[in-house]
Amino acid sequence: MSIDTDEHYVREVIDSAMSGTRPPSDLPSIALARGRRLRTRRRASYAAAGIAAIALAGLAGPWIAAGGDRPVRDGDLIATQPPAPVHPAPKGWWDMPATDMVAAVEAIAPDGVTVTDPGPLEADTPEGGLAHGSISPMLVTTGGPGRLNVILSPGPAEDMGQIGMDRRIGCGGESSSDRTRCEELLDAAGNVVGHRLSARWFDGVVINEVVLRRDGGTVYAAGANSLDDKWSEDSPVSAARPPLSLDDLENLVRNDVWVSYEP
């Protein structure tokens, strides 16, 4: 079978399979409502970030000159809303309550980095209640605000029938960014147990990410110089750099506070 024949056939199948599909009839109204909410949230978060940055700048004094010399502009990159983590049994340290996680980040974060907004703390589930294992606080440094994501995940995920972080513990995957640097983290035996990744999309948003397998689970931490819930090509840049460097993030994921939690 030739490639041309395959291409032709795939085109035919896609056309036939999708030709009768229609979007939901209420899509225009839903999209409009969601767009309005996003616009309102964005304006509110920038106002809050501006106030926090001004307050921090007043405290920072001589350090204010560090960074922030780059113009803020719309970026083309990717952001984040903490995914609603799936936590099947068994329970473990990855079930740490979001409030405890925020407190841990506040304790671990280097001098000059302040948690100004803990982000959503309620579980994104029908039952509601306190979220566990995932946070997305807003951080402010002298260079400006940004967002952090910390996700605790059980593992190996494949055993639990979910697509988990173990699929991308190393640097094997390809990124959609236009500049990506990735370095694998090895244990004493030379096994890949995580990675440090820095990705820049187009001309704006930068994501720093460190993932580390620990004690039967995984600690994931990523920060970006954008306050968007989801980093995307249209995410506005909020600072010259993400709030935490790769070293800061590695220090965070290696901290024993995460694996010491007992549900």
């Binding site: 041309d4 024949t5 999209a31 969601r34 767009g35 990717i78 979910q162 994931y220 980093w231 090509e233």
Partner: protein, 174 residues
């Protein structure tokens, strides 16, 4: 207030006219009707926030189509830690389709592809983009697009074998 109303009206009209095409793309990328709706809503919300830029683009539909693609890729990257693989058991969101069974088979086959491979298939074989255009959209090299195309076609050939009707060999025709 008048400007806001005008934007809302323009945006609503745009969604009404372009949503069928965008929805199909989202569905092919996500292989799930519910995920497609969420992806499309996310992309459209971003388009609304940046409506001035979208509405003045040469091709607003293509512009938003690009947002759909990039939102898909970024969410795939960010959410792979919490995603649950679920079989799409029903096709209710598009029950009016001509061939739901074929669609289910196609979506199941696409689901077996890596997200980036799936994006290559959608751009190359559904939107008919060239290798160069696809490479540019996905920030891949031309060679990477070709390799991913070959890999995806090989997988689809196997997955779709059961429904495939004999097609006369066109070997050497291009």
């Amino acid at each position: 207030m008048r400007a806001s109303t005008s934007v809302d009206e323009e945006f609503t009209a745009f969604v009404a006219s372009a949503s069928a095409q965008l929805h199909r793309k989202a569905w092919l990328l996500t292989t799930s009707s519910s995920a497609a709706e969420d992806l499309l809503q996310s992309a459209l919300a971003k388009a609304y926030v940046h409506w001035r830029r979208v509405s003045t683009a040469d091709d607003p539909t293509a512009y938003v189509s690009g947002i759909v693609l990039k939102t898909f890729l970024s969410e795939k990257r960010r959410r792979s830690s919490s995603e649950v693989a679920v079989a799409e058991m029903s096709d209710s969101a598009a029950a009016a389709g001509d061939d739901p069974e074929l669609r289910m088979t196609l979506l199941a086959a696409l689901r077996d592809l890596a997200p980036l491979d799936r994006a290559v298939v959608v751009l190359r074989y559904w939107e008919d983009h060239s290798v160069e255009e696809t490479a540019r959209a996905l920030h891949l090299s031309r060679a990477a697009v070709k390799n991913r195309s070959l890999r995806a076609l090989a997988s689809l050939r196997t997955q779709l074998a059961d429904i495939r009707e004999p097609i006369p060999s066109q070997e050497g025709t291009r």
